[in-house]
Symmetry: C2
Subunit: 159 residues, 2 copies
C-alpha cells in the first residue's frame, strides 16, 4: 500500500519542518562487524497534540510506532528498514530540505542488505560518514577509519 501524493507531500513538509532522518554506527561486540547500523526517521510534536495526530498519520502509513519521551515530546518513529524505506520512498519526491539525506539513507539501507564481507561493511561505513558530513561538520568517533581499525584489530579485515 502506498501513501497518496498529497499525504506524502504533507509528511515531507512536516519532516522538513520538525523531523529527523538519521543513521549512525554504534559499537556492539555481538554484531558480526562489531558495529550496529542504527537508522531512523522521526517526527516530533508536543505530547499535548502529538499522540492523537501521530495516530492519525500512522493510520495513513500503517508503518512505524509512537512513543512519548520523558521530557514530554511525542515521537513518531520509523526504525525498521522496511518502515524507513516505505516512508522515504513515498515522501522523497516532495522533500526539499532533507531530500539528499533521504536519498543517501535509502542507498545505505540498500547497501546494508548486500553486505557479504567486511569490505562491504566498510563501504557502508564510508557512506555513513558522508551522511554525517551532510549534517554536521565536526569529526565523530565511529567513522569509517575507526571501523577499519577495529575490524583489523579483530582480524576481520585482511590484509
Amino acid at each position: 500500500m502506498n501513501l497518496s501524493k498529497l499525504d506524502s507531500a504533507y509528511i515531507a513538509g512536516f519532516i522538513d519542518g520538525d523531523g529527523s532522518i538519521y543513521v549512525q554506527l554504534k559499537p556492539n561486540s555481538t554484531y558480526r562487524y562489531k558495529f550496529q547500523i542504527i537508522a531512523y526517521v522521526v517526527l516530533y510534536q508536543s505530547i499535548n497534540k502529538g499522540i492523537k495526530f501521530f495516530e492519525e498519520i500512522q493510520k495513513l502509513t500503517n508503518h512505524g510506532y509512537i512513543r512519548v519521551r520523558k521530557d514530554g515530546i511525542a515521537e513518531y518513529i520509523f526504525s525498521k528498514v522496511n518502515d524507513i524505506e516505505f516512508v522515504l520512498k513515498n515522501i522523497h519526491p516532495y522533500l526539499r530540505l532533507k531530500k539528499e539525506q533521504a536519498s543517501l539513507m535509502l542507498d545505505i539501507l540498500e547497501s546494508k542488505k548486500n553486505i557479504q564481507n567486511s569490505k562491504d561493511f566498510l563501504d557502508v561505513a564510508g557512506k555513513i560518514d558522508k551522511f554525517y558530513f551532510m549534517n554536521y561538520s565536526k569529526k565523530r568517533k565511529n567513522d569509517a577509519k575507526y571501523v577499519e581499525k577495529v575490524l583489523r584489530k579483530e582480524k576481520l579485515l585482511t590484509p
Copy 2:
C-alpha cells in the same frame, strides 16, 4: 495565482511541524479603537538552510517576506491580510494540527474588514480571545473584557 495542491500540502505539513499561526491585540492609542490587531503566519528554520529554502517557497507563493532574527533563526512571514489569506486559503484543506486556528484566523480577518463601529471591534476581540484559548489556557491581559473597559473609558462605546 494559486498554489498547486502538492505545494499546499507540503507547506501545510511544514507549518504544522515548525510554523505559527497567530493573532493578538496590542494597545496602540493612535488606532481608532485603541488596539492594533496583529496577525501573522510564520515558518521557521535555522539560518543555515533556511534562507535558500524560504526563497524557493517564496517563488511558489509570491507572498510574504523573509527575515533573519538575531538568534540566527530564519523566518518566512506572512503578515499583510492579503498574504495571510492567500497562504491559509491554499493550505487549509491539508492542515491537521493547526486547521482550527487557520479557520478562526480567516474568520477574524474577514470580520476585521467589516468593522464599522466599536461593537464590531469588540466582537473581533472576542474571536481573538477564542483564538487565544485554542492555543493556551492561561488568561492574558488584552482580552475582549479589557478592550471593552478601555473603549468605555475613552467614550468609544456607549452606553
